[in-house]
């Protein structure tokens, strides 16, 4: 495959079978390897699409400053694109995110504003909204409410899955901004409505839920519950156990959030087996494990890994 530039090389990721993790010959799991995107994560799709749409709408002009609350991957994608396109990027990032993510952001030239660990990404969103008010000339693409985020998956990820696997019965993905699932969900509701759309969200340690009051809670503006069929909360222990199984049995080195998604997918697979049906279940692998090596999640006992992830934003 040949592309004019890195920015054109987003998407069209491989879909690979997981024969050893699949519970039966006719209940199959498949992984969509989104780590094969230009900066190594699924967020390249959303970030580039948000930039392209903002340019089309005239919101972004040469030399503009971009501002974005992000726990990492979206920031990294935006930083690469901003560098190539000549924009300045300011990322607001919770301080309890891995060092690799910060280094990558700095390498691509982004400036990082840290937000407090307590409250997790909610705090990053709040700090970013405050900065946006103070700097009205900055452009906040705002991944949590930008329809271009979901559109990237409605027009990209969803159709790619259906083309590669017409017999698809389930798609399981992580829930963060909700963009991936909103786009894929809407695509399948319109084109193959019997496909079950399953969300897996990371369950963090108490620190991350340390809001001052419940009114500070946050539901992304993009989220539409009608586009998914089930939603599971997966803790670090199950996520780490599954991400290690994925490497051990299938040779795939994935990020920790993919372990959470795989955990939910395997539960779906077992339900299908119990019901005596067949299935082709797609697992969206958001990124590789490289950025999370320093967390300690890939070595030692599960107990130790669980301890080390306590309080971290690991997805």
């Amino acid at each position: 495959m040949r592309f004019a530039s890195l920015l054109d090389a987003v998407g069209q990721t491989p879909l690979v079978g997981l024969p050893r993790l699949s519970p039966a010959p006719d209940v199959r799991l498949w992984a969509k390897l989104e780590d094969r995107n230009p900066t190594g994560s699924v967020k390249d799709r959303a970030a580039l699409r948000m930039i392209v749409e903002a340019e089309k709408d005239g919101l972004l002009r040469p030399g503009a400053t971009l501002l974005e609350p992000t726990s990492g991957n979206t920031g990294i994608s935006l930083a690469m694109a901003a560098k190539l396109k000549g924009y300045r990027l300011v990322c607001v990032m919770p301080e309890n995110t891995s060092e690799e993510r910060r280094q990558l952001l700095r390498m691509w030239g982004a400036e990082i504003v840290s937000s407090p660990a307590a409250g997790g990404s909610n705090e990053a969103v709040r700090v970013a909204k405050r900065l946006a008010e103070e700097h009205p000339d900055w452009v906040m693409l705002y991944q949590y409410g930008n329809q271009a985020n979901a559109l990237a998956h409605y027009e990209g990820t969803g159709p790619e899955i259906l083309a590669d696997l017409p017999s698809v019965t389930h798609v399981v993905a992580g829930l963060g901004t909700t963009g991936t699932l909103m786009g894929i969900g809407r695509f399948f509701r319109e084109h193959k409505p019997d496909v079950t759309i399953v969300a897996a969200e990371p369950r963090y340690g108490e620190l991350v839920y340390g809001l001052r009051n419940l009114d500070e809670g946050f539901v992304p503006e993009l989220y539409d519950a009608r586009l998914i069929d089930a939603r599971f909360s997966v803790g670090p222990r199950d996520a780490v156990r599954r991400v290690r199984e994925l490497l051990e049995l299938e040779g795939i080195f994935a990020g920790i959030s993919t372990g959470a998604v795989l955990h939910a997918a395997i539960a779906q697979a077992h339900q299908v087996v119990k019901a005596g049906r067949t299935a082709d279940i797609v697992v969206i692998m958001a990124d590789g494990g490289w950025k999370y090596l320093s967390t300690g999640a890939y070595e030692g006992t599960l107990d130790a890994a669980e301890d080390t992830l306590e309080g971290q934003l690991w997805a």
Binding site: Y144, G176, G217
Partner: protein, 90 residues
């Protein structure tokens, strides 16, 4: 056996600081009423106008109850119910 309910930090003022409480009921709604009898004020923080509050997520055995009938979701002895505030990802 009873149903274990995990309470987030922010709501532990209603449980005397306890991280988990126990209750009984056939549905989530009955379970919340049962717990409210011993932990006054909790229900008001979870439920508004007959529905779960927007920024409250409740999971039965890790599955979001909004996809299992909301307050009408069936629960049974041995289940683990987790209450969490809605937070951002990404």
């Amino acid at each position: 056996m009873a149903i274990e309910v995990r309470i987030p930090t922010i709501l532990r003022t209603h449980t005397g600081g306890a991280k988990t409480v126990e209750g009984a009921g056939k549905t989530l709604s009955e379970l919340i009423d049962d717990i409210e009898a011993r932990h006054v004020g909790l229900k008001e923080r979870l439920v508004h106008n007959g529905d779960l509050r927007k920024f409250v997520n409740v999971y039965v055995n890790d599955e979001d109850v909004r996809f299992r009938g909301g307050l009408g979701a069936e629960v049974s002895d041995g289940d683990v119910v987790t209450v969490l505030p809605a937070v951002a990802g990404g």
